[in-house]
């Protein structure tokens, strides 16, 4: 019996699941870096988050929506990884699970599941935890190379936290003291610095970026325009004021900027459809990130910046409809 079907009869090898698999692979270098610097406790948080997100999605599909579980598309695994990467490595397990619940059940399935959610689920989960448990969310274990069991690890501030602190006290002596706590560029680049699990190593994140580009999962546009905006904006302020707080290279390498720009501002579902729209989105994220970092009470603004821009996606999409062939060139 011959099969019949409509054209096209071939498909690109990429499907939703394979894309998610590639994103997971791209996130692995950052996991390796986290293990080196934060030890096994980072792994505990990561595994909890992944298991939590997958389990919540499975349960919601099975018992509430009564549809075949969608966990096979691996998107819940990506959400779990990203959520964990945005948490400190000493986060209590039960709090991680609360984050998973908010990310998957409230930010994703309640909106209609993959493809319908307006906000990046992992970021919603993170921000919820940040607001609910501010103390745990802002005490980061200091990196301790190869101390896998995390014996006697102190907690300390992130680079951006130190900078914010300097600003708040702003007396010359304290300033000098604070500055010596700052990691140098090399440390920030490989990730020997305090921070959330997956955000510290620029090197690892850039490796992931290279993988995503090579596998054609994302274009270079969003990360590039996001980072370029932050760099230019902070450079202008830095040259103008000489304020160490906005020193552009530190701004690029610190906090969750690279993680956000490469992995979260590029989430298909919550970002614009067209190249043009994506550039607008990325520039918006960059501007908001710097504004929040510089003028708000929070040291870090990547999560908020991306979430705010998520809300603008429908408007951006509306104004960046591509020009139809044969309807007049601009």
């Amino acid at each position: 019996m011959l099969k019949i079907s409509t054209a096209p009869h071939i498909n690109s090898p990429q499907d939703t699941r394979s894309i998610m698999r590639d994103v997971i692979i791209a996130l692995m270098p950052a996991l390796a870096a986290a293990l080196l610097f934060f030890g096994l406790s980072a792994l505990v948080v990561v595994l909890t988050a992944v298991a939590g997100c997958v389990a919540f999605e499975y349960l919601v599909c099975r018992y509430i929506l009564k549809i075949p579980p969608t966990t096979g598309d691996l998107s819940a695994v990506v959400t779990g990884l990203l959520l964990a990467y945005n948490l400190p490595s000493n986060m209590p397990v039960w709090m991680v699970l609360v984050g998973c619940f908010v990310a998957v059940v409230i930010a994703k399935t309640a909106f209609g599941g993959l493809g319908k959610n307006v906000f990046n689920p992992a970021l919603v989960g993170r921000v919820f935890l940040f607001i609910s448990f501010p103390v745990q969310m802002t005490s980061w274990p200091k990196p301790d190379f190869l101390n896998f069991l995390n014996a006697d690890v102190e907690t300390g501030a992130t680079t951006l936290g130190i900078l914010k602190h300097i600003d708040a006290e702003s007396s010359a002596t304290k300033l000098a003291g604070g500055l010596s706590d700052l990691p140098d560029y090399g440390q920030m680049f490989i990730g020997y610095t305090g921070g959330c699990i997956g955000e510290v190593s620029a090197l690892a994140l850039l490796l992931g970026f290279a993988w995503l580009l090579w596998r054609r999962i994302i274009g270079w546009h969003i990360p590039f325009y996001y980072l370029a905006t932050v760099f230019i904006f902070t450079s202008v302020m830095w040259l103008h004021s000489g304020n160490i707080q906005v020193e552009p290279v530190t701004q690029l390498l610190s906090g969750g900027l690279l993680l956000g720009a490469i992995f979260m501002a590029t989430d298909y579902v919550t970002t614009p459809m067209t190249r043009k729209g994506q550039i607008v989105f990325a520039v918006g994220c960059g501007i908001l990130t710097v504004i929040i970092r510089r003028w708000s009470v929070y040291p870090e603004g990547v999560s908020f910046a991306i979430l705010i821009m998520n809300a603008f996606v429908p408007i951006i999409d509306y104004f960046t409809v591509p020009r139809v062939f044969g309807t007049g060139r601009k």
């Binding site: 099969k3 054209a7 096209p8 009869h9 690109s12 493809g115 044969g326 309807t327």
Partner: protein
């Protein structure tokens, strides 16, 4: 003109699978029976001139064009007309066909069967168009638009460029490629003939860079012909689509809803141009064409010269495709072709390929939810938003659909090919177009 060109918007790069590119065109030989449809073109069916029991020869006129937008149909074999009635075509629909029992290979005396290439073009423009009409030539790239109509420039329009389409951007197909390698000079003379009919000086043969043998063969000969040039193109699908090709070659954009002649261009497929040469210089009607028979269920994939009306099953036997292994048979290419239900359906003037796929890759993947990846938007060569069209068609909102320019969709399938959620976007576009046209 040495720099490679391509179209600006969208496009995809599917795996080429041009496994038959090196296989010379082989004469498929004569089947026992042929089924010749009287409508192998866009327009009205031709009027049937023969009846059961009539003896015909190769090249005998079987049916006469009915009006301007129609085309003559000739016999491809010599033998006896068995019946003239409706028979199941490739998609299972009944089509009017003339069934001929093959008894031999006697050609009409008027056809010049010598192998000599005739370079001198003696026919006047009017005679050229008349000969094209008498030979029943239609656009052989798949559009099936009667060629005489396309060669007559509408009043008030000025055409300055003939583009010969040697792109063949569909995976697997190599029929045009082989034709350019083996009939390079005939194609170039055919282009000169069309130029004469159109009253213009320039023709560009556009060939994708993945066909080096064809490019070399054509270039060797264009040296001795003024006004015919080869333009090498950067490979991208759907470069062979008429409007995309014009934009790629000339930079001119055919306005939405307009014709190529509106920007001064005429596009003809290489197969058509070869048929024009044969009609005008050799008096040979269009009754055979090159067909690629390929796919992973074909043991010996090949390019064949096939008489129109030959049943697909005859060609499938020739490539040793075993019927139990074949899951799907496609007429045309894998991007735009249609899967056949009838294994005995005949080759027509438009059949560029027969593809045989094994059972295990013949399924249609399961549709999942749109993940808003934007890949369909990026791939669309027309700048449409296929995901949005799909959503509107699902909602039945035809007013919105019009705003989305669904009528400009060229049905290339790039969006559906690229979609990671495997949403049948092309089906939605076709359905949208159909409903929109109906509601007018």
């Amino acid at each position: 003109m040495s720099n490679k060109k391509t179209f600006t918007m969208g496009g995809i790069h599917p795996d080429k699978h041009k496994i038959t590119a090196e296989k010379p065109i082989e004469d498929a030989g004569l089947p026992e029976i042929v089924y010749i449809p009287v409508k192998q073109h866009i327009g009205s069916p031709a009027k049937i001139l023969v009846a059961k029991g009539d003896k015909v020869r190769v090249g005998t006129l079987l049916a006469d064009a009915d009006g301007i937008v129609s085309a003559d149909v000739h016999s491809s074999v010599s033998g006896e007309v068995l019946k003239v009635e409706e028979i199941e075509g490739e998609f299972g629909y009944l089509e009017q066909m003339i069934t001929i029992k093959v008894e031999g290979d006697e050609w009409e005396a008027s056809i010049d069967r010598s192998p000599d290439i005739i370079r001198e073009i003696n026919a006047s423009p009017e005679e050229i168009i008349a000969k094209i009409r008498e030979a029943g030539i239609v656009g052989m790239g798949g559009a099936g638009y009667p060629t005489p109509v396309k060669t007559t420039i509408p009043a008030g329009k000025k055409v300055d460029c003939l583009i010969v389409n040697g792109i063949e951007c569909e995976p697997y197909l190599t029929a045009d490629d082989r034709l350019m390698v083996e009939k390079a000079e005939q194609i170039i003379i055919g282009a000169k003939i069309l130029n004469k009919a159109l009253g213009i000086q320039n023709a560009v043969i556009a060939v994708d860079e993945n066909k080096p043998a064809a490019i070399e063969a054509l270039r060797n000969i264009t040296r001795s012909y003024v006004g015919v040039n080869v333009q090498v193109m950067k490979t991208k699908y759907p470069q062979g689509a008429e409007k995309q090709l014009i934009e790629a070659v000339t930079g001119r954009e055919v306005p939405s809803g307009k014709l190529p002649a509106d920007v001064g261009c005429i596009v003809q497929n290489v197969g058509t141009v070869n048929a024009v040469y044969e009609a005008v210089q050799k008096n040979k009607p269009l009754f055979e064409r090159v067909v690629t028979v390929s796919g992973d269920a074909a043991e010996t994939p090949s390019n064949f010269l096939v008489r129109i009306g030959t049943p697909a099953s005859f060609l499938i036997n020739k490539v040793h495709g075993s019927p139990d292994k074949i899951g799907k048979i496609i007429f045309g290419g894998p991007m735009m072709g249609t899967s056949a239900v009838n294994i005995n359906a005949p080759i027509t003037k438009l059949s560029s390929g027969i593809l045989l796929f094994k059972d295990d890759i013949s399924f249609k993947p399961e549709e999942t939810v749109c993940i808003r990846c934007g890949k369909c938007v990026e791939a669309c060569p027309v700048g449409l938003m296929p995901f949005a069209i799909a959503a509107q068609v699902r909602d039945g909102d035809y007013h919105e659909m019009k705003k989305l320019h669904v009528l400009d969709c060229i049905e290339c399938g790039s969006c559906a090919y690229i979609c990671p959620a495997r949403i049948p976007l092309l089906d939605y576009c076709k359905l949208g177009k159909y409903e929109l046209k109906k509601s007018k």
